[in-house]
Protein backbone atom coordinates (compact mmCIF):
# COMPACT_ATOMS: atom_id res chain seq x y z
CA UNK A 1 0.00 0.00 0.00
CA UNK A 2 1.41 3.32 -1.04
CA UNK A 3 -0.89 5.85 0.59
CA UNK A 4 0.22 8.86 2.56
CA UNK A 5 -2.21 9.70 5.32
CA UNK A 6 -2.89 13.37 5.90
CA UNK A 7 -4.52 13.64 9.29
CA UNK A 8 -4.34 17.43 9.15
CA UNK A 9 -7.40 17.26 6.91
CA UNK A 10 -9.23 15.45 9.65
CA UNK A 11 -8.13 17.96 12.27
CA UNK A 12 -9.35 20.82 10.10
CA UNK A 13 -12.62 19.06 9.24
CA UNK A 14 -13.38 17.99 12.80
CA UNK A 15 -15.31 21.12 13.95
CA UNK A 16 -17.55 21.06 10.88
CA UNK A 17 -18.16 17.34 11.32
CA UNK A 18 -19.11 17.90 14.96
CA UNK A 19 -21.63 20.45 13.77
CA UNK A 20 -23.01 17.79 11.44
CA UNK A 21 -23.07 15.33 14.32
CA UNK A 22 -25.17 17.81 16.29
CA UNK A 23 -27.80 17.78 13.55
CA UNK A 24 -27.62 13.98 13.30
CA UNK A 25 -28.24 13.66 17.02
CA UNK A 26 -31.04 16.22 16.89
CA UNK A 27 -32.83 14.33 14.13
CA UNK A 28 -32.27 11.05 15.97
CA UNK A 29 -33.66 12.27 19.30
CA UNK A 30 -36.69 14.00 17.76
CA UNK A 31 -37.50 10.93 15.66
CA UNK A 32 -37.15 8.51 18.58
CA UNK A 33 -39.31 10.57 20.94
CA UNK A 34 -42.12 11.09 18.43
CA UNK A 35 -42.00 7.47 17.24
CA UNK A 36 -42.12 6.03 20.73
CA UNK A 37 -45.27 8.02 21.43
CA UNK A 38 -47.02 7.42 18.09
CA UNK A 39 -46.21 3.71 18.14
CA UNK A 40 -48.41 3.13 21.22
CA UNK A 41 -51.77 3.89 19.55
CA UNK A 42 -50.57 2.16 16.39
CA UNK A 43 -49.74 -1.00 18.35
CA UNK A 44 -53.09 -0.84 20.16
CA UNK A 45 -54.80 -0.40 16.78
CA UNK A 46 -52.91 -3.40 15.44
CA UNK A 47 -54.50 -5.49 18.22
CA UNK A 48 -57.95 -3.89 17.97
CA UNK A 49 -61.04 -6.05 17.86
CA UNK A 50 -62.44 -3.71 15.22
CA UNK A 51 -61.35 -5.11 11.90
CA UNK A 52 -61.10 -1.78 10.04
CA UNK A 53 -58.76 -0.32 12.64
CA UNK A 54 -56.68 -3.49 12.78
CA UNK A 55 -56.28 -3.64 9.00
CA UNK A 56 -55.46 0.06 8.74
CA UNK A 57 -52.75 -0.28 11.39
CA UNK A 58 -51.42 -3.43 9.79
CA UNK A 59 -51.41 -1.75 6.36
CA UNK A 60 -49.40 1.20 7.64
CA UNK A 61 -46.88 -1.07 9.32
CA UNK A 62 -46.42 -3.27 6.26
CA UNK A 63 -45.99 -0.31 3.88
CA UNK A 64 -43.17 1.15 5.94
CA UNK A 65 -41.66 -2.20 6.82
CA UNK A 66 -41.58 -3.52 3.27
CA UNK A 67 -40.21 -0.52 1.40
CA UNK A 68 -36.66 0.87 1.64
CA UNK A 69 -36.16 3.82 3.93
CA UNK A 70 -34.35 5.66 1.12
CA UNK A 71 -37.42 5.32 -1.10
CA UNK A 72 -39.64 6.61 1.71
CA UNK A 73 -37.30 9.55 2.18
CA UNK A 74 -37.27 10.39 -1.52
CA UNK A 75 -41.03 9.95 -1.78
CA UNK A 76 -41.69 12.47 0.98
CA UNK A 77 -39.05 14.93 -0.28
CA UNK A 78 -39.64 14.65 -4.04
CA UNK A 79 -43.01 12.93 -4.67
CA UNK A 80 -45.19 14.44 -1.95
CA UNK A 81 -44.81 18.01 -3.28
CA UNK A 82 -46.02 16.80 -6.68
CA UNK A 83 -49.06 15.30 -5.01
CA UNK A 84 -49.92 18.09 -2.58
CA UNK A 85 -48.23 21.13 -4.02
CA UNK A 86 -46.46 21.69 -0.71
CA UNK A 87 -42.68 21.47 -0.67
CA UNK A 88 -41.18 20.49 2.62
CA UNK A 89 -37.66 21.50 3.59
CA UNK A 90 -35.09 18.70 3.74
CA UNK A 91 -34.93 18.70 7.52
CA UNK A 92 -38.72 18.33 7.93
CA UNK A 93 -38.85 15.67 5.21
CA UNK A 94 -36.07 13.76 6.96
CA UNK A 95 -37.81 13.86 10.34
CA UNK A 96 -41.16 12.86 8.84
CA UNK A 97 -39.74 9.95 6.84
CA UNK A 98 -37.60 8.61 9.65
CA UNK A 99 -40.43 8.99 12.18
CA UNK A 100 -42.94 7.26 9.91
CA UNK A 101 -40.50 4.43 9.36
CA UNK A 102 -39.42 3.97 12.98
CA UNK A 103 -43.01 4.21 14.22
CA UNK A 104 -43.92 1.15 12.15
CA UNK A 105 -41.08 -0.92 13.58
CA UNK A 106 -41.61 0.40 17.09
CA UNK A 107 -45.32 -0.43 16.94
CA UNK A 108 -44.56 -4.04 16.06
CA UNK A 109 -42.08 -4.17 18.92
CA UNK A 110 -44.67 -2.80 21.33
CA UNK A 111 -47.31 -5.21 20.02
CA UNK A 112 -45.13 -8.24 20.58
CA UNK A 113 -44.30 -6.88 24.05
CA UNK A 114 -47.97 -6.31 24.86
CA UNK A 115 -48.81 -9.82 23.75
CA UNK A 116 -45.99 -11.29 25.81
CA UNK A 117 -47.78 -10.23 29.02
CA UNK A 118 -49.71 -13.29 30.23
CA UNK A 119 -53.44 -12.91 29.62
CA UNK A 120 -54.14 -14.00 33.21
CA UNK A 121 -52.34 -10.89 34.49
CA UNK A 122 -54.63 -8.72 32.40
CA UNK A 123 -57.67 -10.69 33.52
CA UNK A 124 -56.58 -10.23 37.13
CA UNK A 125 -56.69 -6.49 36.42
CA UNK A 126 -60.15 -6.85 34.89
CA UNK A 127 -61.35 -8.71 37.96
CA UNK A 128 -60.12 -5.80 40.08
CA UNK A 129 -62.15 -3.46 37.86
CA UNK A 130 -59.22 -1.68 36.27
CA UNK A 131 -60.33 0.03 33.07
CA UNK A 132 -58.79 -0.92 29.73
CA UNK A 133 -56.60 2.18 29.89
CA UNK A 134 -55.52 1.38 33.45
CA UNK A 135 -54.69 -2.18 32.43
CA UNK A 136 -52.50 -0.80 29.65
CA UNK A 137 -50.94 1.92 31.81
CA UNK A 138 -50.18 -0.08 34.92
CA UNK A 139 -49.94 -3.73 33.86
CA UNK A 140 -49.20 -4.15 30.17
CA UNK A 141 -47.01 -1.22 29.10
CA UNK A 142 -44.48 -1.32 31.98
CA UNK A 143 -43.89 -5.02 31.48
CA UNK A 144 -43.88 -4.82 27.68
CA UNK A 145 -41.41 -1.94 27.66
CA UNK A 146 -39.12 -3.76 30.04
CA UNK A 147 -39.38 -6.95 28.02
CA UNK A 148 -38.74 -5.16 24.72
CA UNK A 149 -36.13 -2.67 25.91
CA UNK A 150 -33.20 -4.43 24.15
CA UNK A 151 -35.16 -4.47 20.88
CA UNK A 152 -36.14 -0.82 21.29
CA UNK A 153 -32.52 0.16 21.92
CA UNK A 154 -31.42 -1.85 18.88
CA UNK A 155 -33.99 -0.06 16.74
CA UNK A 156 -32.72 3.26 18.03
CA UNK A 157 -29.12 2.36 17.19
CA UNK A 158 -30.23 1.40 13.68
CA UNK A 159 -32.09 4.68 13.32
CA UNK A 160 -29.05 6.66 14.45
CA UNK A 161 -27.01 5.00 11.68
CA UNK A 162 -29.82 5.33 9.13
CA UNK A 163 -29.89 9.10 9.59
CA UNK A 164 -26.89 9.08 7.23
CA UNK A 165 -29.43 8.64 4.44
CA UNK A 166 -30.75 12.15 4.98
CA UNK A 167 -27.55 13.44 3.39
CA UNK A 168 -29.07 12.41 0.07
CA UNK A 169 -31.68 15.17 0.36
CA UNK A 170 -29.09 17.80 1.29
CA UNK A 171 -29.63 17.83 5.03
CA UNK A 172 -26.25 18.82 6.45
CA UNK A 173 -25.81 15.99 8.92
CA UNK A 174 -22.54 14.27 9.79
CA UNK A 175 -22.56 12.22 6.59
CA UNK A 176 -23.36 15.19 4.36
CA UNK A 177 -20.55 17.28 5.89
CA UNK A 178 -18.13 14.34 5.61
CA UNK A 179 -19.03 13.84 1.98
CA UNK A 180 -18.61 17.52 1.23
CA UNK A 181 -15.19 17.69 2.92
CA UNK A 182 -14.14 14.50 1.17
CA UNK A 183 -15.08 15.99 -2.21
CA UNK A 184 -13.20 19.18 -1.44
CA UNK A 185 -10.01 17.60 -0.10
CA UNK A 186 -9.91 14.27 -2.01
CA UNK A 187 -9.16 12.64 1.35
CA UNK A 188 -12.00 10.12 1.46
CA UNK A 189 -10.08 7.59 3.54
CA UNK A 190 -9.31 9.93 6.41
CA UNK A 191 -12.63 11.75 6.38
CA UNK A 192 -14.88 8.69 6.16
CA UNK A 193 -12.75 6.79 8.69
CA UNK A 194 -13.31 9.64 11.11
CA UNK A 195 -17.02 9.68 10.28
CA UNK A 196 -17.25 5.94 10.90
CA UNK A 197 -15.35 6.40 14.17
CA UNK A 198 -17.78 9.08 15.31
CA UNK A 199 -20.84 6.93 14.49
CA UNK A 200 -19.19 3.98 16.29
CA UNK A 201 -18.30 6.07 19.35
CA UNK A 202 -21.97 6.98 19.80
CA UNK A 203 -23.57 3.65 18.90
CA UNK A 204 -21.17 1.27 20.66
CA UNK A 205 -21.91 2.38 24.26
CA UNK A 206 -25.63 2.04 23.57
CA UNK A 207 -24.96 -1.42 22.16
CA UNK A 208 -23.06 -2.29 25.35
CA UNK A 209 -25.94 -1.07 27.47
CA UNK A 210 -28.30 -3.19 25.37
CA UNK A 211 -26.14 -6.26 25.99
CA UNK A 212 -26.03 -5.49 29.69
CA UNK A 213 -29.80 -5.20 29.90
CA UNK A 214 -30.23 -8.45 28.00
CA UNK A 215 -27.88 -10.27 30.36
CA UNK A 216 -29.63 -8.83 33.39
CA UNK A 217 -32.99 -9.95 32.05
CA UNK A 218 -31.65 -13.44 31.37
CA UNK A 219 -30.30 -13.62 34.91
CA UNK A 220 -33.46 -12.29 36.50
CA UNK A 221 -35.56 -14.80 34.59
CA UNK A 222 -33.43 -17.63 35.90
CA UNK A 223 -31.73 -18.23 32.57
CA UNK A 224 -28.16 -17.68 31.47
CA UNK A 225 -24.82 -17.49 33.21
CA UNK A 226 -24.48 -15.70 36.54
CA UNK A 227 -23.63 -12.02 36.15
CA UNK A 228 -19.85 -11.41 36.16
CA UNK A 229 -18.66 -8.98 38.80
CA UNK A 230 -16.69 -6.50 36.71
CA UNK A 231 -18.60 -3.77 34.90
CA UNK A 232 -16.71 -4.36 31.65
CA UNK A 233 -17.45 -8.09 31.82
CA UNK A 234 -21.07 -7.43 32.58
CA UNK A 235 -21.40 -5.30 29.46
CA UNK A 236 -19.38 -7.53 27.17
CA UNK A 237 -21.42 -8.25 24.07
CA UNK A 238 -21.50 -11.68 22.52
CA UNK A 239 -21.07 -13.57 25.80
CA UNK A 240 -22.69 -16.93 25.31
CA UNK A 241 -25.54 -17.41 27.75
CA UNK A 242 -25.53 -20.70 29.61
CA UNK A 243 -28.97 -22.18 29.96
CA UNK A 244 -29.14 -24.60 32.87
CA UNK A 245 -30.23 -28.13 31.95
Amino acid sequence: MNYNFDWNVVANAFPAMMQGLGLTLQITVITIVISMILAVPLAVGRMSKIEVIRWAAQGYIEIFRCTPLLVQLFWIFYALPALTGVTLPGYASAVIALTANLTAFMAETYRSGFQSVPVEQVEAGRMLQLSRFQQLRYIIVPQALRQQLPVILSLNISLFKDTALVSTIAVSDLMFISNTISSQTYRALEVFTLAAGVYFAIAFPISLITSSIERRMQNSSGMGAPAPRRLASRMMPGTRPVVPA
Binding site: P118, L128, Q134, I139
Partner: protein, 288 residues
Protein backbone atom coordinates in the same frame (compact mmCIF):
# COMPACT_ATOMS: atom_id res chain seq x y z
CA UNK B 1 -89.11 -24.13 49.18
CA UNK B 2 -87.07 -23.31 46.19
CA UNK B 3 -84.46 -20.62 46.60
CA UNK B 4 -85.12 -19.35 43.15
CA UNK B 5 -88.48 -18.00 44.24
CA UNK B 6 -86.89 -15.70 46.79
CA UNK B 7 -84.50 -14.22 44.23
CA UNK B 8 -87.05 -13.33 41.63
CA UNK B 9 -86.07 -15.92 39.11
CA UNK B 10 -88.64 -17.42 36.79
CA UNK B 11 -89.81 -20.89 37.72
CA UNK B 12 -86.88 -23.17 37.45
CA UNK B 13 -86.90 -26.48 35.65
CA UNK B 14 -85.65 -28.16 38.74
CA UNK B 15 -87.14 -30.10 41.54
CA UNK B 16 -85.87 -31.20 44.84
CA UNK B 17 -87.01 -34.48 46.15
CA UNK B 18 -87.98 -35.19 49.73
CA UNK B 19 -84.45 -35.56 50.99
CA UNK B 20 -83.32 -32.27 49.37
CA UNK B 21 -81.22 -33.67 46.57
CA UNK B 22 -81.32 -31.68 43.35
CA UNK B 23 -82.66 -33.63 40.40
CA UNK B 24 -81.82 -32.60 36.87
CA UNK B 25 -82.31 -35.05 34.06
CA UNK B 26 -80.76 -38.46 34.44
CA UNK B 27 -77.34 -37.30 35.47
CA UNK B 28 -78.04 -36.47 39.10
CA UNK B 29 -77.65 -39.25 41.57
CA UNK B 30 -80.03 -39.66 44.51
CA UNK B 31 -78.20 -38.64 47.62
CA UNK B 32 -78.77 -38.05 51.28
CA UNK B 33 -80.41 -34.87 52.57
CA UNK B 34 -78.56 -31.65 51.83
CA UNK B 35 -79.80 -29.20 54.45
CA UNK B 36 -77.28 -26.46 53.64
CA UNK B 37 -79.02 -25.50 50.44
CA UNK B 38 -82.54 -25.84 51.73
CA UNK B 39 -82.17 -24.28 55.16
CA UNK B 40 -82.26 -20.62 56.10
CA UNK B 41 -79.07 -19.79 54.30
CA UNK B 42 -79.38 -17.29 51.51
CA UNK B 43 -78.47 -18.07 47.97
CA UNK B 44 -75.57 -15.96 46.70
CA UNK B 45 -75.17 -17.29 43.18
CA UNK B 46 -77.74 -18.72 40.86
CA UNK B 47 -77.01 -19.73 37.30
CA UNK B 48 -79.74 -21.13 35.15
CA UNK B 49 -79.52 -22.86 31.80
CA UNK B 50 -75.96 -21.77 31.07
CA UNK B 51 -74.73 -22.81 27.67
CA UNK B 52 -71.37 -22.09 26.13
CA UNK B 53 -69.72 -23.45 23.03
CA UNK B 54 -66.29 -22.83 21.62
CA UNK B 55 -66.70 -23.54 17.93
CA UNK B 56 -68.49 -26.84 17.51
CA UNK B 57 -67.57 -27.97 21.02
CA UNK B 58 -70.19 -27.45 23.70
CA UNK B 59 -68.47 -26.76 27.00
CA UNK B 60 -71.53 -25.91 29.10
CA UNK B 61 -74.75 -27.75 28.33
CA UNK B 62 -77.67 -26.14 30.07
CA UNK B 63 -75.96 -25.89 33.46
CA UNK B 64 -77.91 -24.93 36.58
CA UNK B 65 -75.75 -23.94 39.52
CA UNK B 66 -76.45 -22.56 42.95
CA UNK B 67 -74.25 -21.37 45.81
CA UNK B 68 -75.14 -20.21 49.29
CA UNK B 69 -73.64 -17.24 51.05
CA UNK B 70 -70.57 -18.19 53.06
CA UNK B 71 -70.29 -21.67 51.58
CA UNK B 72 -67.26 -23.36 50.12
CA UNK B 73 -68.25 -25.11 46.94
CA UNK B 74 -65.65 -27.39 45.45
CA UNK B 75 -65.97 -28.00 41.73
CA UNK B 76 -64.34 -31.12 40.37
CA UNK B 77 -64.23 -32.86 37.03
CA UNK B 78 -61.97 -33.78 34.18
CA UNK B 79 -60.14 -31.19 32.08
CA UNK B 80 -62.49 -29.67 29.52
CA UNK B 81 -65.60 -30.66 31.43
CA UNK B 82 -66.67 -27.04 31.90
CA UNK B 83 -65.51 -26.20 35.43
CA UNK B 84 -63.31 -23.26 34.55
CA UNK B 85 -65.78 -21.96 31.97
CA UNK B 86 -68.47 -21.83 34.65
CA UNK B 87 -66.12 -19.93 36.96
CA UNK B 88 -65.17 -17.52 34.19
CA UNK B 89 -68.84 -16.96 33.38
CA UNK B 90 -69.54 -16.12 37.03
CA UNK B 91 -66.49 -13.82 37.05
CA UNK B 92 -67.60 -11.94 33.96
CA UNK B 93 -64.55 -13.00 31.95
CA UNK B 94 -66.56 -15.19 29.60
CA UNK B 95 -70.10 -14.55 28.43
CA UNK B 96 -72.30 -17.62 28.08
CA UNK B 97 -74.20 -18.14 24.84
CA UNK B 98 -77.44 -18.71 26.73
CA UNK B 99 -78.70 -18.62 30.29
CA UNK B 100 -79.06 -16.35 33.23
CA UNK B 101 -76.81 -15.51 36.18
CA UNK B 102 -77.90 -13.90 39.42
CA UNK B 103 -75.50 -12.80 42.13
CA UNK B 104 -76.87 -11.75 45.49
CA UNK B 105 -80.32 -11.40 43.96
CA UNK B 106 -79.17 -9.17 41.10
CA UNK B 107 -79.47 -10.37 37.53
CA UNK B 108 -75.96 -9.86 36.16
CA UNK B 109 -76.30 -11.80 32.91
CA UNK B 110 -79.41 -12.32 30.83
CA UNK B 111 -80.38 -12.22 27.17
CA UNK B 112 -76.83 -13.04 26.11
CA UNK B 113 -75.29 -9.97 27.68
CA UNK B 114 -74.14 -8.50 30.97
CA UNK B 115 -76.75 -6.30 32.59
CA UNK B 116 -76.22 -2.85 34.08
CA UNK B 117 -76.43 -4.45 37.50
CA UNK B 118 -73.21 -6.29 36.77
CA UNK B 119 -71.29 -3.01 36.99
CA UNK B 120 -72.54 -2.53 40.54
CA UNK B 121 -72.10 -6.09 41.69
CA UNK B 122 -68.82 -7.05 40.04
CA UNK B 123 -66.73 -5.67 42.89
CA UNK B 124 -68.27 -8.36 45.08
CA UNK B 125 -66.71 -11.05 42.93
CA UNK B 126 -63.01 -11.80 43.23
CA UNK B 127 -60.99 -14.33 41.33
CA UNK B 128 -57.67 -16.08 41.86
CA UNK B 129 -56.17 -17.86 38.89
CA UNK B 130 -54.19 -21.03 38.34
CA UNK B 131 -51.12 -19.19 37.06
CA UNK B 132 -49.41 -16.76 39.36
CA UNK B 133 -50.95 -13.50 38.28
CA UNK B 134 -49.17 -11.10 40.55
CA UNK B 135 -47.74 -8.25 38.49
CA UNK B 136 -44.01 -8.93 38.61
CA UNK B 137 -42.89 -5.33 38.12
CA UNK B 138 -44.59 -4.24 41.35
CA UNK B 139 -43.92 -5.27 44.92
CA UNK B 140 -46.57 -6.98 47.02
CA UNK B 141 -47.89 -3.70 48.47
CA UNK B 142 -48.26 -2.09 45.05
CA UNK B 143 -49.99 -5.22 43.74
CA UNK B 144 -52.54 -4.89 46.52
CA UNK B 145 -53.16 -1.14 46.54
CA UNK B 146 -53.31 -0.50 42.78
CA UNK B 147 -57.00 -1.31 42.33
CA UNK B 148 -58.30 0.37 45.52
CA UNK B 149 -56.37 3.52 44.69
CA UNK B 150 -57.07 3.73 40.98
CA UNK B 151 -60.58 2.29 40.89
CA UNK B 152 -61.98 3.38 44.22
CA UNK B 153 -59.85 6.47 44.75
CA UNK B 154 -58.70 5.32 48.19
CA UNK B 155 -55.91 7.27 49.88
CA UNK B 156 -52.37 5.97 50.25
CA UNK B 157 -52.46 5.36 54.00
CA UNK B 158 -55.96 3.89 53.93
CA UNK B 159 -54.93 1.52 51.12
CA UNK B 160 -51.78 0.51 52.95
CA UNK B 161 -53.72 -0.21 56.13
CA UNK B 162 -56.14 -2.37 54.19
CA UNK B 163 -53.27 -4.12 52.42
CA UNK B 164 -51.59 -4.89 55.75
CA UNK B 165 -54.85 -6.29 57.07
CA UNK B 166 -55.43 -8.42 53.96
CA UNK B 167 -51.88 -9.74 54.06
CA UNK B 168 -52.20 -10.51 57.76
CA UNK B 169 -55.33 -12.46 56.97
CA UNK B 170 -53.39 -14.75 54.63
CA UNK B 171 -50.28 -14.85 56.84
CA UNK B 172 -48.12 -12.76 54.51
CA UNK B 173 -47.79 -9.46 56.38
CA UNK B 174 -44.01 -9.77 56.63
CA UNK B 175 -43.69 -9.88 52.84
CA UNK B 176 -45.37 -6.55 52.14
CA UNK B 177 -42.34 -5.06 50.38
CA UNK B 178 -41.18 -8.23 48.64
CA UNK B 179 -41.22 -8.64 44.89
CA UNK B 180 -43.34 -11.52 43.54
CA UNK B 181 -40.17 -13.15 42.18
CA UNK B 182 -38.85 -13.41 45.75
CA UNK B 183 -41.85 -15.46 46.87
CA UNK B 184 -42.52 -19.17 46.65
CA UNK B 185 -45.48 -20.53 44.71
CA UNK B 186 -47.68 -20.89 47.79
CA UNK B 187 -46.75 -17.42 49.02
CA UNK B 188 -47.62 -15.92 45.65
CA UNK B 189 -51.03 -17.56 45.68
CA UNK B 190 -51.68 -16.30 49.20
CA UNK B 191 -50.77 -12.78 48.09
CA UNK B 192 -53.06 -13.21 45.07
CA UNK B 193 -55.88 -14.10 47.48
CA UNK B 194 -55.04 -11.03 49.58
CA UNK B 195 -55.17 -8.89 46.44
CA UNK B 196 -58.63 -10.21 45.65
CA UNK B 197 -59.69 -9.47 49.24
CA UNK B 198 -58.77 -5.81 48.84
CA UNK B 199 -62.01 -5.24 46.93
CA UNK B 200 -63.95 -6.92 49.77
CA UNK B 201 -65.63 -9.63 47.70
CA UNK B 202 -68.57 -11.71 48.90
CA UNK B 203 -67.67 -14.40 46.41
CA UNK B 204 -64.16 -15.65 45.72
CA UNK B 205 -63.65 -17.79 42.62
CA UNK B 206 -60.51 -19.92 42.66
CA UNK B 207 -59.49 -21.69 39.47
CA UNK B 208 -57.10 -24.55 40.23
CA UNK B 209 -55.04 -22.28 42.44
CA UNK B 210 -53.15 -25.16 44.02
CA UNK B 211 -52.51 -27.28 40.95
CA UNK B 212 -48.88 -26.14 40.65
CA UNK B 213 -48.11 -26.44 44.36
CA UNK B 214 -46.68 -29.21 46.50
CA UNK B 215 -49.32 -30.86 48.70
CA UNK B 216 -48.18 -29.24 51.99
CA UNK B 217 -48.04 -25.80 50.37
CA UNK B 218 -51.40 -26.41 48.71
CA UNK B 219 -52.83 -27.31 52.11
CA UNK B 220 -51.62 -23.97 53.52
CA UNK B 221 -53.33 -22.06 50.70
CA UNK B 222 -56.55 -24.01 51.10
CA UNK B 223 -56.43 -23.40 54.84
CA UNK B 224 -56.50 -19.68 54.07
CA UNK B 225 -59.73 -20.17 52.11
CA UNK B 226 -61.26 -22.07 55.00
CA UNK B 227 -60.39 -19.22 57.38
CA UNK B 228 -61.88 -16.66 55.00
CA UNK B 229 -65.12 -18.57 55.01
CA UNK B 230 -65.21 -19.04 58.76
CA UNK B 231 -64.02 -15.60 59.84
CA UNK B 232 -65.30 -13.32 57.07
CA UNK B 233 -68.21 -15.31 55.64
CA UNK B 234 -66.78 -15.16 52.13
CA UNK B 235 -68.26 -17.73 49.78
CA UNK B 236 -65.62 -19.65 47.85
CA UNK B 237 -66.06 -21.55 44.60
CA UNK B 238 -62.96 -23.61 44.14
CA UNK B 239 -61.91 -25.75 41.22
CA UNK B 240 -59.46 -28.25 42.62
CA UNK B 241 -58.33 -31.85 42.48
CA UNK B 242 -57.58 -31.87 46.20
CA UNK B 243 -60.09 -34.43 47.42
CA UNK B 244 -58.88 -34.22 51.01
CA UNK B 245 -59.78 -30.53 51.11
CA UNK B 246 -63.04 -31.16 49.30
CA UNK B 247 -64.11 -33.81 51.80
CA UNK B 248 -63.06 -31.83 54.90
CA UNK B 249 -63.85 -28.20 54.11
CA UNK B 250 -66.42 -28.10 51.35
CA UNK B 251 -70.08 -27.47 52.00
CA UNK B 252 -70.96 -28.68 48.53
CA UNK B 253 -69.17 -30.76 45.95
CA UNK B 254 -70.13 -30.22 42.33
CA UNK B 255 -68.97 -32.80 39.83
CA UNK B 256 -68.84 -31.74 36.19
CA UNK B 257 -69.00 -34.35 33.50
CA UNK B 258 -69.08 -33.55 29.81
CA UNK B 259 -70.40 -30.03 30.21
CA UNK B 260 -73.10 -30.90 32.72
CA UNK B 261 -73.34 -30.98 36.49
CA UNK B 262 -73.58 -34.69 37.16
CA UNK B 263 -73.50 -34.50 40.96
CA UNK B 264 -74.20 -31.62 43.33
CA UNK B 265 -74.11 -32.83 46.92
CA UNK B 266 -72.49 -32.61 50.31
CA UNK B 267 -68.97 -34.07 50.46
CA UNK B 268 -70.16 -37.09 52.48
CA UNK B 269 -72.87 -37.83 49.99
CA UNK B 270 -70.68 -37.25 46.98
CA UNK B 271 -67.71 -39.28 48.12
CA UNK B 272 -69.18 -42.01 50.32
CA UNK B 273 -72.71 -42.68 49.15
CA UNK B 274 -72.73 -41.66 45.56
CA UNK B 275 -73.52 -44.23 42.88
CA UNK B 276 -72.48 -42.05 39.96
CA UNK B 277 -69.96 -44.17 38.08
CA UNK B 278 -68.24 -41.20 36.43
CA UNK B 279 -67.65 -39.55 39.79
CA UNK B 280 -66.34 -42.80 41.28
CA UNK B 281 -63.92 -43.22 38.40
CA UNK B 282 -62.80 -39.63 38.68
CA UNK B 283 -62.24 -39.78 42.44
CA UNK B 284 -60.34 -43.06 42.12
CA UNK B 285 -58.17 -41.60 39.39
CA UNK B 286 -57.39 -38.49 41.42
CA UNK B 287 -56.76 -40.32 44.68
CA UNK B 288 -54.40 -42.87 43.22
Amino acid sequence: MSHSLSTGLPPVQQQKDNDGTEQKGKKVTALEPTPRLTGNRQVLVEARGLQKAFGPRKILKNVDFEMNKGDITVIIGKSGSGKSTLLRALAGLTDPDEGQILIDGHTVFADQKRTKEWDNIRSEVGMVFQAYTLWPHMNVLDNLVLAPRKVRGAGASESRDRAEAALAEVGMAHHILSKPTQLSGGERQRVAIARALMMKPKLLLCDEITSALDPPVAAEVLDVLRRLKEEDGIAVALVTHDMAFASKAADRVVFFHDGEIAVNATPEAAFDKCDNEDLKKFVDAVRF
